[in-house]
Symmetry: C2
Subunit: 225 residues, 2 copies
């Protein structure tokens, strides 16, 4: 069992507030797990009873809409925690987590984390701030979905993907989403998404290399948003 003390990604999450003793305790009770691309980490409605710490990889958090379509609410990556809201609310998770690439995740049971809450003020403040950031972001996304056109949302999402996950040496977006996933992030039909990507390609905003996408004219993309 690897030590949490030496885990670098810990520095990027609320866990950075934990001291040596707490980290030792953490390492003792955590379990590690490899998650294959496409595998489900947890599903909407499930009782998770703890949080996941993402050591490597990216996953999507989706919510099933009554119309039967999944909507991607958020992408979560290395260094971030999963399941905090559910744990604090003491409710089942409201989102499904699915790996977009092979992942390494650690699971820490609820009672351990709740102990830190009581004793380590900085830790609970960090968690709070993270959740507050999520709330702000979610409110903003809600307004985007309600008020922006699909075209605007697509431009915005492409910029977000490059900003957050970067690009490969050949300039293509590092994170690899299917057209279907991209559509379910911006809240539109897959065909509409593909069509708009074609338009963007024709008008020189992006370049499509098979499934890969290169952002060619970032200033124009930004102006669209």
């Amino acid at each position: 069992m690897s030590k949490c003390e030496q885990c670098i990604v810990r520095e990027f999450s609320s866990l950075k507030a934990l001291n040596k003793d707490e980290l030792v305790k953490l390492a003792e009770c955590k379990t590690s797990r490899l998650v294959k691309k496409g595998e489900v980490i947890f599903e909407e409605g499930e009782n998770v009873n703890g949080i996941f710490c993402i050591k490597d990889g990216v996953c999507k958090l989706t919510k099933l809409s009554p119309n039967g379509k999944d909507h991607i609410v958020k992408l979560v990556t290395k260094g971030e925690l999963l399941g905090q809201r559910s744990m604090i609310s003491d409710e089942p998770v409201n989102l499904t987590a699915v790996a977009l690439e092979d992942m390494q995740v650690c699971f820490v049971p609820k009672n351990e984390i709740m102990g830190f809450f009581d004793k380590n003020n900085q830790f609970s403040m960090n968690v709070m701030k993270t959740i507050c950031g999520d709330l702000k972001e979610s409110d903003s996304q809600m307004v985007n979905m309600a008020q922006k056109t699909v075209k605007e949302r697509l431009a915005e999402t492409l910029l977000y993907l490059q900003d957050t996950f970067g690009k490969n040496e050949d300039e293509t977006l590092k994170i690899q989403l299917t057209r279907d996933e991209l559509a379910s992030m911006i809240g539109t039909a897959t065909e509409s998404c593909i069509r708009l990507l074609s338009d963007f390609n024709k008008s020189g905003l992006i370049e499509i290399k098979g499934k890969k996408i290169i952002l060619k004219d970032i200033p124009k993309l930004k102006k669209m948003v």
Copy 2:
């Protein structure tokens, strides 16, 4: 200056976790204020530096979209707190608060509240849970905006308004929103909202009495959502 100890609405918010001493301190540093219908309590981008406790009345929290339209993110009523996210994140508020009716609100400066955070675990847990509830709700709304039709959103919103704010003796919705506000809650054009209300009226789902609305067929409205 009225005493917080005797304030009933306190029982409905995170503040219920405060003990007598804390309530006395609270009463000493709070300021009360009457807010007229239509008046702005705070505006997006402002530094509020504290929280508001709503003693009476209802307000809307809106966010300005780049297209120039306001979107109503949430309605907040008697007993609830305003500005918690901003205070914890230590950021300007991301939403604008405007009174929908005459209101009574109390303002408590940030440093006072932050003191309670450190010393009263139950209080900070309450605040956390509230924010977690807001996040869950916001994620759900985001998916609604992205995946549901305007008609479905209208039906859902009407049911929500009756559930949350109740009805008058003549069965009309207690909370009085303009068509414009209703439209900006469901994320559509005012004309579309009015048109759909007319449709709902014609098909017997609701009854329109001037500006007032009566829900006539709740089971059918529920089935639409």
